[in-house]
């Protein structure tokens, strides 16, 4: 059961990091505001669903956010490009604050009641004594559909071919007559749209509140680094790995203390560092992704499937 929950969380992470990693490797811009687009996606979906129903929000919110993302790229990010990557980084960093403040201004500082449609609140099936909610299944379905369409778009279409080329050699691609700046804008908009879609289906499964961007923002950077910059395959593996890791770890009470006990070594409160040894895995679950990040940077800095050899 944790397996399935972890998987659905991992797929959600992938939906977020796919856009981030594409944008990063194409434009060299580490988009700090990426998770903010995820947040606006959830809020837009909440607003739209409160006006009509869930499906209107589901369909329209990602499109709106993609448009916003495209406009941001076209009229702000592109203008900063000539000042270098630091300026671009600062711009997206600033944007994340602007979005956060706007969200708080419009929807308040507390969470909003963005609910799962009642039809999908029922359990889909029961395994042992835990249940798997229909909505979780729906999330996985959406994520898988997105995965397949992204793959087909990149591998089977002409624009996908241009994107793949521009990922590694933007200048050469442009000299061959492809409007690379426009492709950048499309990719940026598409990435924001995907982030928003993740917000739409994740916002009600978890919680829609002003802190949601920050809580997921750091994790998706871990995903991108662990997976390898610019590698969608790597991002997929890393997302699922981290999704599973976090879900499993929360449910496990293992600690070094317990491990030592089963080996016959007694650790008591008198042993030096007792509080460290007695930490349960579930307690350190939130920092596991960052431990993985540090480990990855030491052992294999280019990530699981990264192609950059720096």
């Amino acid at each position: 059961m944790s397996m399935l929950n972890g998987l659905s969380y991992g797929l959600l992470l992938f939906m977020l990091s796919a856009g981030l990693t594409l944008i990063f490797s194409m434009m060299g811009v580490l988009n700090f505001a990426h998770a903010s687009f995820y947040m606006i996606g959830a809020y837009f979906a909440y607003q739209l669903s409160s006006w009509s129903n869930y499906w209107v929000g589901f369909l329209i919110a990602p499109i709106l956010v993609a448009l916003l993302g495209g406009l941001f790229e076209r009229y702000m990010l592109r203008k900063t490009h000539k000042f270098g990557h630091v300026a671009e980084l600062l711009l997206t960093f600033g944007l994340s604050f602007v979005i956060l403040e706007l969200v708080q201004l419009v929807w308040g500082r507390t969470s909003v009641d963005y609910a799962i449609p009642t039809a999908m609140q029922a359990p889909l099936f029961k395994l042992y004594d835990s249940t798997f909610q229909t909505y979780r299944g729906f999330m996985m379905l959406v994520a898988l559909l997105m995965l397949v369409s992204l793959y087909l778009l990149l591998k089977k279409t002409r624009i996908g071919l241009v994107i793949q080329a521009a990922l590694t050699h933007p200048d050469t691609t442009e000299a061959l007559g492809h409007n690379v700046p426009r492709v950048f804008a499309y990719v940026f908009a598409g990435g924001c749209g995907l982030a928003a879609l993740a917000g739409v289906i994740g916002g009600n499964a978890f919680i829609t509140e002003p802190g949601m961007a920050q809580s997921v923002g750091a994790i998706i950077f871990v995903v991108v680094v662990v997976g390898g910059m610019g590698s969608l395959g790597g991002a997929l593996i890393a997302s699922i790995l981290i999704g599973l890791m976090q879900t499993f770890a929360v449910g496990l009470d293992w600690s070094i203390l317990g491990g030592a006990k089963s080996l016959g070594v007694e650790i008591t409160s008198a042993t030096p560092g007792y509080s460290l040894w007695s930490l349960k895995l579930s307690q350190i679950a939130p920092i596991l992704p960052y431990l993985l990040l540090v480990l990855m940077l030491i052992v294999r800095p280019k990530g699981i499937m990264g192609t950059r050899d720096e």
């Binding site: 002409r158 071919l161 241009v162 793949q164 080329a165 590694t168 050699h169 200048d171 050469t172 691609t173 442009e174 000299a175 061959l176 007559g177 492809h178 409007n179 690379v180 700046p181 192609t307």
Partner: protein
């Protein structure tokens, strides 16, 4: 086709990389259907001249292509005007197949290209054999053929080729020379950036020599052959 009509004219071209001044007033022209060699040592500014025409670096001065000033245009716009560039670094797309690399040369316009995939594969049969191979595993010579063909798929009327024979075996250099002659037969103007005098003198109609970021000699291959001073000062290593 090889009349004296000017295809490309560059007037007082200056180029910059950040704060450094790479080109200091380059003047040159290329007639329709002509092969022009741009010679000089490394760092003389030959590649930068091509990149400047292509809109890949910041420039000052005029770049007239078929009567229109294209200075300041973006690289993809210049490409759509009919100017092609084959980079020196053999910038193939390593993860894509040979065929996909060629597909990326096509500009996706409705205009019928004078070249087909078949033409490319006939010119370089080795590429046909390897069309479904990832381009990254090709040999240096094969990658060079691929970059030449890729730019050609975009149907340029003028093609600037940066050091096509560098590091290639003599047999492949011959192939490249044959390729250049084929371009000329089809009425395409060629700017050949070279260090090797031999191939340049064999196939070019006119020659420019660059040194110190400007043009230091202009003439026919025979005139360059006769001028030992220029060769000694600006070409021989």
């Amino acid at each position: 086709m090889s009349g004296q009509k000017i295809a490309l004219e560059v007037k007082d071209l200056q180029a910059f990389y950040g704060k450094s001044h790479i080109l200091q007033g380059v003047n040159l022209h290329v007639n329709e259907g002509e092969i022009v060699a741009l010679l000089g040592r490394n760092g003389a500014g030959r590649s930068t001249t091509a990149k400047a025409v292509m809109g890949m670096v910041d420039t000052k001065g005029e770049i007239i292509w078929r009567g229109e000033n294209i200075a300041g245009m973006k690289a993809y716009e210049v490409a759509h005007k009919g100017v092609g560039y084959v980079p020196e670094s053999r910038d193939i797309f390593p993860k894509l197949t040979v065929h996909q690399n060629l597909m990326l040369g096509e500009k996706g316009t409705k205009k019928q290209s004078r070249w087909s995939f078949e033409d490319m594969y006939n010119m370089f049969p080795r590429l046909r054999e390897r069309q479904h191979t990832e381009a990254g595993v090709l040999s240096g010579g094969e990658q060079q053929m691929l970059t030449l063909c890729r730019t050609l798929m975009g149907d340029p009327d003028l093609i600037m080729i940066d050091e096509p024979t560098e590091g290639l075996a003599p047999a492949i250099v011959k192939l490249v020379a044959e390729y250049l002659r084929e371009l000329k037969r089809r009425g395409i103007s060629v700017v050949l950036i070279e260090q090797k005098l031999s191939i340049a003198l064999q196939i070019s109609d006119r020659v420019y020599v660059m040194g110190d970021r400007r043009i230091v000699f202009e003439g026919t291959p025979a005139e360059l052959n006769a001028d030992a001073n220029v060769r000694k000062e600006w070409l021989e290593v």
